[in-house]
Structure formats: C-alpha cells, structure tokens
C-alpha cells in the first residue's frame, strides 16, 4: 500500500516537473518569436544597404578611460542616421572570457581592441580578426588623412594585410620624484633623448644618492625601479633580441628564441644587479608591501625614479609630491629605448556590419574626435599627431615641453610592446613572473633559471 502510494506520488511529481519544463520551454519559445521581429532589423545581416538602420556593438573595458566613447555616440549617430552604436562593457579581468563567450555564442561584437590580457597576436592567431584591406581600398582610407604616422600603421599589418587602425599610443617614459631629487641635491634627469650623457650607468649613480635602506620600512627609500616593459622584453633595452626576427613579420610566432644565450643572461644580470648588487632598486616583496598587490610603489613617494608606461602620467595630479618626466636613459641599444603600447581598433570576423563598423572607427580616429577624447577620457594619448599637441598640455605641474620631447623621443627610439605582438603572451608572461621570482629573492641565479625559461617559452609558443 505504502509502496504503491509512493510510486504514485513519484509519478505525479515526475509528470509535474515535465509539465513545468514543457511550459517553460513553450513560454520562452513564444517569447523569442515575439522578440525576433523588432530586433530583426539590427541582426538580419543585410549590411551595406544605406536605407536600413543597422546596430553595431563596440566592446570595451568598463572603466571611465574607455567608456567615454558613450558620450561620442549621439554626435556620431546624428552624422550617420543609419547606424546605431551600442557599447558592451566588461571588467578588465573578465574581458577575454566574455569576448570568447560572445564569439562562441554567435553574438560577436563588431569593434573592439586588445584591452584584456590577450594581445593582438593572440587574436590574430585565433583567427578572430577581420582583414580590413578590402574595406580600406573600397573606402579610400589613408592614414595620412587622419594624421596617423605610417610606422604605427605597420604595427598591425601582417603580410601586407591591415588588421587594425591605431587609436591610442602609450609610450615608456621615466617619471621622477622632484622632492627626492631636491632633498639629495641631485640635478633633474633630461627629457631630451639626444642628450647622450643620460645613460644607464649615470642613472644608477644618481639612484645611489637617493637610496636609504633602513630597518624601519617607513624610512626606506630606493633610487630607481627599472620596470621597463614586461620581463621577456627587457634584454632588448641592452640591444639583445631573444626572439627571432621572423616573429615581427609572420603574426607573432617565433621560429626560435634565445633566452639561454650568454648575451641574454648578461642583460638580465645587469638588471637584477640593481636589486641584488647595487641595491638601488626594491625587491618585488618590498613594492608589494608598500603599494599593495598590483600597486605602483612610485605613488607612495618612496622611489626616486621609475620607468613606466605613460598611463602613470594620468594619475600624476593626485601624487602627494612633485613629478617630472624624463627620457629613458641610453642602455646600449642605439635604436630602441622606449616601449610603445599602441592600441588599435579591430573589427571582429563575426561582425555582421563591417562597413558600418569601419565608419565608426574612422569617426573615432578623426582629428576632431581624437582631440576631444583626451579630455573626455581623462588623458588618453592620441595617435593623431595634431591632437598630440593638446595631450602634451594636459598634465598639471608638468612642463608640456618635457612631455613633448619625451613622446617624440620615444616614438623615434620606440618598439611596440611584445605583449601585443607575440602569440599566447599572457601565458609567457605568467611563466616569466613565476620562474624569475627566485632570482628576485636571491634563491637562484639568472644562469640557473634561463635554460628552464627557454624550454618553457618554446613549449608555450607551440601550443
């Protein structure tokens, strides 16, 4: 009796749950039918015909220096009545996951940039990017009309096919704490790249005068933090190239690397000696303890000089001390002293309206919008050479002439950051951070670590 009853109830429960599932799917089915009609226009895939209104999606990071483009949309839509722009946002950490999911789910955005961990080369090798060459030819787009230097256009051109239009350019520069220089009575470093007296050795000499290491962490200060680019790129500063030349022409897949060569080891030793021998630079632990996990120790006023991306300039108005900008000192590489971080606007392969997306890109890189964007974004550096003049004047208390010299020198002696150019870069970078940690703490030597790194880099590239 009891058993029978239980069986009956079970059957009833099963039936009910199946009904619920049916009702749910039926309900949602009905809903989707209702929804298709109004949104159909935007997604119908009939691009190009000018009479129809088309919606394009710009996928970006959810932070003020990126989402300012929302303020430009009304003006753009007024000029292009047939195009509607939608901004889709994600936090930095989730940027890549969301992008991959959107593409896999058939909801690919139209325009984006490599704002997450993955760089251009990663997108290119995953076949996510649309070749813009045909659109450019049809449109008659010329970089010079938009004051974009040809050198910068070349960065995102692979085998004569253009995959991205540069929009912002960050450079590597030196920031220095004027208060610390004054206290140590050391003259300020020059902003002119042609001043040949400003060398790596001179920098170490100056740094020694400002370094005080004390048991009291509050009194400890260091002369320089030489965080030039990511770890794998640093040998280039001394004129040593660890990746083979073909990397830069074939879309970021090196045929060979030389991380265990004597030249590379010597270059790393020179850098680690700043921490271990000269003791003018802080260890990673010290930086983390004063500035937090991802913080910048320079803003606490405990560092005399720092080599860093020009994005640090944007926060300089809030620093609790006076700031100056200087050239990156000469380290033995006649051609490269600064690392460039050029952000391109890309059209994704899944875009249903590439032509309209290109109109939006052209709008964003136009002289007028590039100039407007500096203020709207709170100090994003434009690629546009005309708008750049406005950018140089953007920072309180820093001489515009210095910013200009530092920028122009950086472009002349610049090389695009490896993180945009080499495939699977986020994995390479994580590996470098982990493997080099023991050198920083003095547990291993550069000579011990580099053969392992060389092996692992090649493994990651082949993935």
């Amino acid at each position: 009796m009891k058993r029978k009853r239980i069986k009956k109830t079970f059957a009833l429960l099963l039936a009910t749950s199946m009904l619920v599932v049916l009702a749910l799917s039926g309900c949602s089915g009905g809903k989707s039918v209702g929804d298709v009609a109004p949104s159909g226009e935007g997604d119908s895939g009939k691009s190009g015909s000018s009479g129809e209104k088309v919606t394009i999606t710009h996928y970006t990071i959810d932070s003020e220096d990126r989402t300012f483009i929302e303020k430009l949309i009304p003006d753009f839509e007024a000029k292009h009545p047939n195009i509607k722009v939608k901004v889709e946002k994600a936090p930095y950490e989730q940027f890549d996951s969301k992008l991959q999911t959107l593409i896999a789910g058939g909801k690919s955005p139209d325009v984006t940039s490599h704002y997450g961990y993955g760089g251009f080369a990663e997108y290119y090798n995953k076949d996510m990017l649309l070749d813009l060459s045909d659109i450019i030819k049809e449109d008659g787009f010329k970089a010079s009309d938009y004051s974009i230097p040809d050198d910068l256009m070349k960065i995102y051109t692979v085998k004569d096919h253009v995959y991205g239009i540069p929009v912002n350019m960050y450079v590597t520069l030196m920031l220095y704490n004027k208060d610390m220089f004054d206290a140590a009575k050391v003259p300020y470093p020059p902003s002119d790249y042609e001043d040949k007296s400003w060398t790596f050795d001179k920098m170490v000499e100056d740094a020694k005068k400002m370094t005080h290491v004390s048991d009291d962490i509050a009194k400890t200060q260091y002369g320089v933090d030489f965080t030039w680019s990511e770890r794998d790129m640093r040998p280039l500063y001394f004129g040593v190239e660890p990746y083979s030349q073909d990397t830069w022409s074939n879309g970021g897949v090196p045929s060979e690397t030389h991380f265990d060569s004597p030249d590379v080891i010597a270059a790393y030793n020179k850098l680690f000696n700043l921490i271990l021998k000269d003791k003018v630079s802080p260890t990673t632990e010290w930086s983390k303890s004063v500035a937090g996990q991802n913080g910048d120790a320079f803003v606490t006023g405990k560092l005399g000089m720092t080599v860093s991306g020009s994005w640090s300039l944007a926060g300089s108005n809030d620093f609790p001390f006076k700031v100056g900008v200087a050239a990156v000192p000469a380290g033995g590489n006649d051609k490269v002293r600064s690392v460039l971080f050029v952000d391109p606007l890309l059209i994704l392969k899944g875009s249903k309206h590439p032509k309209e997306a290109f109109e939006w890109i052209k709008y964003l890189v136009s002289d007028e919008v590039q100039e407007k964007s500096i203020d709207l974004s709170g100090g994003n550096p434009p690629v546009n050479t005309k708008a750049a003049e406005t950018y140089y004047k953007h920072f309180d208390g820093i001489d515009p002439a210095d910013v200009k010299k530092v920028y122009e020198g950086a472009v002349k002696y610049g090389f695009e950051s490896y993180n945009h150019l080499i495939t699977n870069y986020s994995q390479i970078n994580d590996m470098f951070i982990n493997e080099m940690q023991p050198i920083d703490t003095g547990h291993k030597t550069v000579e011990e670590v580099m053969p392992t790194i060389q092996k692992k880099v090649m493994e990651i590239i082949k993935r």
């Binding site: 009891k2 079970f10 003020e64 936090p91 058939g106 910048d296």
Partner: protein
C-alpha cells in the same frame, strides 16, 4: 583572578582542582579569543577607516589608522559616480529570488532523495553529485548559447532561473539533514491522512530551520558575490549588479583605483550579508531549541 588560586587550599581538593583548571583554561582561551577577534576585525576596521579617507591620504605611506579628516561625503559620492542605488536593487532582487529558488527546488529534490528509495536512486544521487565536479568555465559557453537561444540575454533570467532547478551541493546538504528526521513523524502524518507534499511542507521543512538557514546563507552569498555570470549575461548599465559595478573601479590598468570609494561600496555591500546572518543565526538557534531534535 589572581586571588582565586590563593583561596584554593581552603576549599575541598576536588573542587579546587576543577576550578583551577577551568580558570586557567578559560583565561587562556578568552585571551586567545580576544586577540583573534581583533585580528579578524582589523581588515574590517581598515575597510571602514579607508572609506572615510580623502584621495590624497590613501596614497600615504605608512598608512594612517584613522582618517585625518573624516570624509563622510565619500558616502554621498558613491551614489553620484556609480548608479549605486540601482545596482544595489538589482543585486537584491537577484539575490532574494535565487534564495527562494534554491530553497524550494533543493528542499524538494533533497526530500525526494532522503525519503524515497527506488531502483537506482543512489545512481541518480551520484549523478547529481557529479555535477559538482564540473567547473563553471566548462559549461560557460554551452549555457550562454542556450540562454541566448531563449532570448534571455541582458535579462536577470539566466541569473535566477537556474536556482529554481536546484544545486547539487545544497541538495546534498539538505538530504543529509532530512535523513536524520525520525520516520515516526512521517508515519504519524500518514496515519492522519497527510499528503506527501504536505509532509514535506508541514513536517520536514519546519524541523529543518538550521539546514534551510545554512542553504539560504550559502545561496545568497554566492549570488551576491557572483561576478562572472552577470558580466557574461548583462550588457545594459542599468541592469548591472554590485560586483560588476564595483569592478569598474579597478578595471583601468592605467589609473590609481579610487580605493576610498571602493571601500565605501564594500562597507555598504556587506550590510545585507551581516543582516541576513543575524536573522539566520536566530533561526539556527530556534531550530535546535524548538524541535528538540538533533
């Protein structure tokens, strides 16, 4: 305290021994508890203190314990810089519905697993438990395709509806609890003509206060803190939840994050969790006292 050992010898030996032991242990344990309490409260203290600091003071090293000037305006600023009220509401709506859904579905499924023994019921239980082994990234894309086909993108549905289909961990937790309820109670109910559903509702649920409170807390905290799912499914700013909005503070690689505002948001975001815990804790105790079971 030091007088107690002195008084010891006059009392009977057994009492003295017992008292001394208790005193020593309790002093030590209280001291340890107080120290740990302070250690545990230190991050909370810094969170509140940082939320009241000015932008300049944030960067100072070594950091100050208390703000030099108390910036109560930070609490106003958060509502001006972010659409904070809206995000709070969104998070609450999703959180509350998730709790309702999880409680309903998990309690039903758990009741079934605990009280009915059919052919292969162990197999189905194991199968359900095995879904716990699937990491979210593995089902992220298929689930996204499913919800996008249902036209649920940019709605709260993908965040709420799955809760109404149970969660393996909570079903497991409740099943274990339901199994401890004595059969006699259900037999008595059955004699009085109670339906199976009514037994679930009027016998099993009221006796499971502590377990349900635990599940409610777990479900709410999970939904309240979840970042990846809302990031994937929501695209309009007015639908964003608190974690999505708060992550925008630290999203720029190029700017110093406004820690003071982030801390304000964290203090405010913590309140519902604290309130829920206070309420649920009471149920917890009630459950034990009133039922007299377990």
């Amino acid at each position: 305290m030091s007088t107690i050992p002195a008084a010891g010898p006059t009392a009977s030996p057994s009492v003295t021994k017992r008292r001394r032991k208790v005193d020593g242990v309790s002093i030590a344990s209280f001291a340890a508890l107080i120290v740990t309490t302070f250690l545990m409260l230190l991050p909370l203290f810094f969170m509140v203190s940082t939320s009241l600091k000015s932008k300049k003071e944030l960067l100072r090293f070594p950091p100050t314990f208390l703000p030099d000037s108390w910036q109560w305006s930070n609490y106003k600023e958060i509502f001006e810089t972010l659409n904070f009220g809206q995000m709070y509401m969104n998070s609450l709506i999703i959180g509350i519905l998730t709790v309702v859904g999880t409680l309903l579905s998990s309690a039903l499924a758990a009741y079934g697993f605990a009280r009915y023994r059919g052919k292969g019921s162990n197999f189905w239980f194991m199968l359900m438990l095995s879904t716990m082994m699937l990491p979210y990234p593995a089902i992220m894309i298929p689930q996204f395709i499913l919800f996008s086909k249902l036209n649920w993108l940019d709605t709260f549905l993908p965040l709420i509806v799955p809760a109404f289909f149970g969660s393996a961990y909570n079903i497991f937790l409740l099943r274990q609890f339901f199994s401890t309820l004595p059969d006699e109670l259900f037999d008595a109910g059955r004699i009085d003509g109670c339906s199976e559903f009514r037994m679930w509702r009027q016998i099993a649920l009221p006796l499971s206060g502590p377990a349900l409170a635990t599940v409610a807390i777990f479900a709410f905290i999970y939904s309240w803190n979840d970042l990846l799912t809302p990031v994937l499914y929501l695209s309009s700013s007015d639908k964003f939840t608190l974690p999505v909005g708060m992550s925008s503070f630290t999203s720029s690689r190029f700017r110093i994050p406004p820690w003071h505002l982030l801390m304000v948001a964290s203090v405010l975001a913590m309140l519902p969790i604290v309130a829920l815990f206070a309420v649920a804790q009471k149920r917890f105790v009630e459950g034990i006292v009133l039922t007299g079971i377990k």
